[in-house]
């Protein structure tokens, strides 16, 4: 009896330790990466990094201004494609569709979410790059936008379904039509959650490299426009990291640091939005 009790306590303590260690490891990975990036790339981050174009091979210095602007343009155009489609589709899914349609759309969205990003890239290459006969910012944005659709769609649906039924009834009892109810009560009640999800989707695609390799391609200079190839931070990291030059390696680390910082800022922004304003009670 006593031995049995001791054994139980041993198992309990062992499992407690294991779960604690694993939790610590998951957090530690992030801080290790952050620290490593700071150590290797921190020295290369200076004013020039944000304002100057890459220097030709052999010259030390220069920056990645074109890649930073390029990434911003890609994300903006991707949002213009992915957010409206995902958002309105999510509204349809949560508010209008029957059970059968909803489950089909939901399943398809989950599958789309699981399509490897390199495949999305090939698809964008075939659909946009080949017909126009050159790489472009828009092609890259198209690929990233596609990736944003399922994330936005599913989270919009989820947050709309989380709005208590009694709020809907309250609006309808005042003579609001279905669309009025959705647009004036349901969506406002859920918008902070939806906005957060959109920001997280943005953060997720911000670091995608594969879909950009043969869509937005890359550019050592300022992009000449939306229909022209552009540099972007992830592709720049890739190109610089595989190069044989010591200075480029340092810059790749710096670019990684900037990209991670960007994603961190978006995440913090998302959390701030979620925690402010009038909270909706759970149903």
């Amino acid at each position: 009896m006593n031995a049995r009790l001791r054994w139980r306590k041993l198992v309990s303590n062992f499992m407690l330790t294991m779960t604690g260690v694993c939790a610590f490891v998951s957090v530690a990975v992030l801080f290790f990466i952050l620290g490593y990036l700071l150590f290797n790339g921190g020295t290369s981050i200076n004013w020039a990094f944000f304002t100057q174009l890459p220097k030709p091979v052999g010259e030390v210095g220069g920056g990645m201004a074109n890649a930073i602007v390029g990434s911003a343009k890609l994300l903006l155009a991707a949002s213009l494609l992915g957010v409206p489609i995902g958002f309105l589709g999510g509204i349809y899914l949560a508010e209008f569709s029957g059970a059968t349609v909803a489950s089909v759309v939901r399943y398809a969205a989950d599958l789309l979410n699981g399509v490897p990003s390199i495949v999305i890239g090939i698809f964008a290459y075939a659909i946009v790059v080949q017909p126009f006969k050159h790489f472009s910012t828009l092609a890259g944005a198209f690929a990233l936008g596609l990736m944003m659709i399922p994330i936005t769609l599913r989270s919009t649906e989820e947050f709309l379904n989380g709005v208590p039924r009694m709020l809907r009834e309250g609006a309808m009892a005042l003579g609001a039509s279905k669309w009025k109810t959705i647009s004036t009560v349901i969506v406002p009640a859920a918008y902070r959650g939806i906005l957060t999800a959109i920001l997280l989707a943005l953060a997720r695609v911000a670091g995608e490299t594969a879909p950009l390799l043969f869509t937005a391609f890359g550019n050592r200079f300022w992009s000449q426009g939306w229909a022209q190839p552009t540099a972007s931070l992830p592709v720049m990291i890739f190109t610089y990291a595989v190069s044989p030059y010591e200075d480029w390696h340092r810059q790749a680390w710096a670019a990684g640091l900037v990209l991670l910082g960007l994603i961190l800022i978006i995440n913090i922004l998302a959390r701030t939005i979620l925690s402010r304003g009038i909270a909706v009670p759970r149903s």
Partner: protein, 274 residues
């Protein structure tokens, strides 16, 4: 007691309210008339051949044990039952002699407002909650005045007038429920339906709302569902007693509670079941 009906009202209403253009219970005209209503969820029948009237500018209470169909009956009066897709309604419900089932549902709900069991203010400011109905219905006139008038009618103005821009969720449960009443009153409904409006409230808030209902009679016609018999006795002029989806008795409140005409009513109000 302010809520007691006219002394001459001792007729059995279910028998009186039959047909004709100017129907009345005693001397009080009917605002709504429910005839031969049968109601189903899927294949399950909830209401059986219900006949009753809602007297103009009076409070009509629906009482009965849980699951007797009283809330369902109330929800048919502004067609809120249609939010459940498997529901089916047979029979006729008239509002001012017109069949509500043939009307545009949003217009109907503007005329027949509803307050729910649990306070359900929108996640907006107090002001925007009250202004919601007038805004979506494109009502004329300055919104601020409508808001003030509605809050006064709901006996809430003095408590909230200095912080109309605060979230409605910062108010107490009783105040939230009065926000919901004010919100419903803001579109000037002809009939106000209340579905157990005090069941989530403390006794003091409940007393306030009961007091309010008696005052609101001058403004609108009220139908209230309650599981609380004392509440029905306190606030209503007419009471309908339902049991397993059937209308057992519908009479002026004093009569139903003092000399019930059906033994089942007597059994229920004396607390032998339910």
């Amino acid at each position: 007691m302010q809520s007691s009906p006219n002394p001459g009202l001792s007729v059995n209403v279910a028998a009186t309210a039959t047909s004709g253009a100017r129907e009345a219970i005693g001397s009080i005209p009917l605002r709504m008339k429910i005839s031969k209503v049968n109601f189903y969820y899927g294949t399950k029948q909830i209401l059986f051949d219900i006949n009753m009237g809602i007297a103009d500018k009076r409070v009509t209470a629906l009482i009965g044990p849980s699951g007797c169909g009283k809330s369902t009956l109330l929800r048919t009066l502004n067609r809120m039952h249609e939010t459940v897709t498997s529901s089916r309604l047979e029979g006729e419900i008239l509002l001012d002699q017109q069949n509500i089932l043939a009307q545009d549902v949003t217009l109907l709900r503007r005329r027949v407002g509803m307050v729910f069991q649990r306070p359900n203010p929108f996640p907006k400011s107090i002001f925007d909650n009250i202004a919601y109905g007038p805004r979506i219905n494109g009502m004329k006139g300055p919104i601020a005045e409508i808001v003030e008038k509605s809050l006064r009618h709901a006996a809430l103005w003095e408590e909230v007038k200095d912080h109309l821009q605060k979230s409605a969720y910062e108010l107490s449960g009783g105040q939230q429920q009065r926000v919901c009443i004010a919100r419903a009153l803001a579109v000037e409904p002809e009939v106000l339906l209340l579905d157990e409006p005090c069941s989530a409230l403390d006794p003091i808030s409940t007393a306030k709302i009961e007091e309010l209902l008696v005052e609101l009679k001058s403004l609108t016609t009220i139908a209230i569902v309650t599981h609380n018999m004392q509440q029905a006795a306190r606030v209503s002029d007419f009471t309908a007693f339902l049991l397993t989806g059937q209308m057992i008795e519908f009479n002026p409140t004093p009569q139903l509670f003092t000399t019930p005409s059906d033994p089942r009513t007597e059994a229920y109000i004396t607390g032998r079941f339910g």
